[in-house]
Amino acid sequence: MNINATLILQSIAMMIFVWFCMKFLWPPLLKAMDERRERIAEGLAASDRAEKELEKAKVEVDAQIREARDKAGEIVDQANQRHSQILDQAKDDASAERSRQVTAAEADIVQASNQAREELRKSVASLAVLGASQILEKEVDANTHRELLDKLITEI
């Protein structure tokens, strides 16, 4: 174990290795590490931001859903109203139609019965004339006895 010139060469070797490290190792490694740190920080900030945005979007969506639900309820109410309106109207229309038809039918009936009565009256008159002529064996002049016949018809 002697002190010798190894000392000097070791010293030179050390300086060269330090220089290598300073030039070729330290800067790229530190640069990469710093850049990654920045990227991670950015990523974390972005995720925070995204979370906040998601929260906001959720609130918005909730509001929209509530609004939609309200609107839907309104529409259903309106539809119900309209439904009953239509129903009422239909009912009114139907009853109006019914009464109209009933009235018409009644009128028809009255008319028919009047007509029948008229016809009956007429036939009665002719029958009466026929009968009378047969009874009298003599032609009854319808015109001569008009007055009498009319009186007879109205009495029937």
């Binding site: 190894t6 070791q10 590490m33 990654r36």
Partner: protein, 345 residues
Amino acid sequence: MAGGSENITTGEYIRHHLQNLTFGQHADGSWGLAHSAEEATAMGFWAFNVDTLFWAIVLGVAFFMLFRNVARKANSGVPTRFQSAIEMIVEFVDTSVRESFHGTSKFIAPLALTLFVWVFFMNFMDLIPVDWLPWVAQQAGIHYQKVVPTTDVNATMGMAITVFILILYFSIKIKGVGGFIGELTGQPFASNSMAGKIAFFLPNLLLETIALLAKPVSLGLRLFGNLYAGELIFILIALIFTAGSGLIAAGLSSIFGEHIPAWFWVLATASVFATLWLNLKGVLDNKKTLWLLLVEMLLIGGLAFLGGQLMHFAWAAFHLIIVTLQAFIFMMLTIVYLSMAHEHH
């Protein structure tokens, strides 16, 4: 096993392990490798410890390649595991520098990183069993091989002196020549009067010079001392383990006599590998495997094998802490000294 010849003494074994491979000028004027410790000493200052320099440079290049490999591909995307590991070291050094060094410098942090990793690698060589690399060198015809550069005082002091030069450089750069001299002579005894300043000039200079010189000396010798002591203990453990003398080594010799046959080691290794393999295949559970390994260890090596291995393992585990800690201390002290050089007192 260590020295090549079968019957070297314990002292020779240790001395052999602590001798650097030295290249220098022989007494007859020719240049070459020293063949003995005496020859190496006789070469004087202008000699080089080839093994120290070789391993220091190999490990320095390994450090550079390892980090360059990551630095070249480094980007801000998702890092690979290896990149993360390298970046953890860089981050650790960067944090240490930021905490201790109050000032801005593009130089201190790379310096600290280089010192930390390089010194750690050089220290780590200590954990390779002491006989392996010297044995390989022996086969290649190289007689001396000390593979841990930091157990060579030249290497540690070489680095400490570089740090010392940096201390002087930064002191003068930041404070100017006058400021630096003022720092050396104006404290610790301070006076406002001219007479007092003259009276305290010499004592101050003496004390401050000692304090200044103590920095590189302590820096270099601390690292050297720790690693040298650790190395020595590994050598002693290896001695107990391999030399075949002493009480606990008696286990093997009592069965096989002086020479342990090769088939024994082949069988022993195969049985341990087989046990571990069966464990990995799921045939044996962990508890059974441990018991089986223990039984095998006892059968294979007797107390000598188990004792030597356990001691080696225990010291290696402890030494791992020393290796890391000393690398860290070397780095931290360098940062602190350079930080002090940057500050005005």
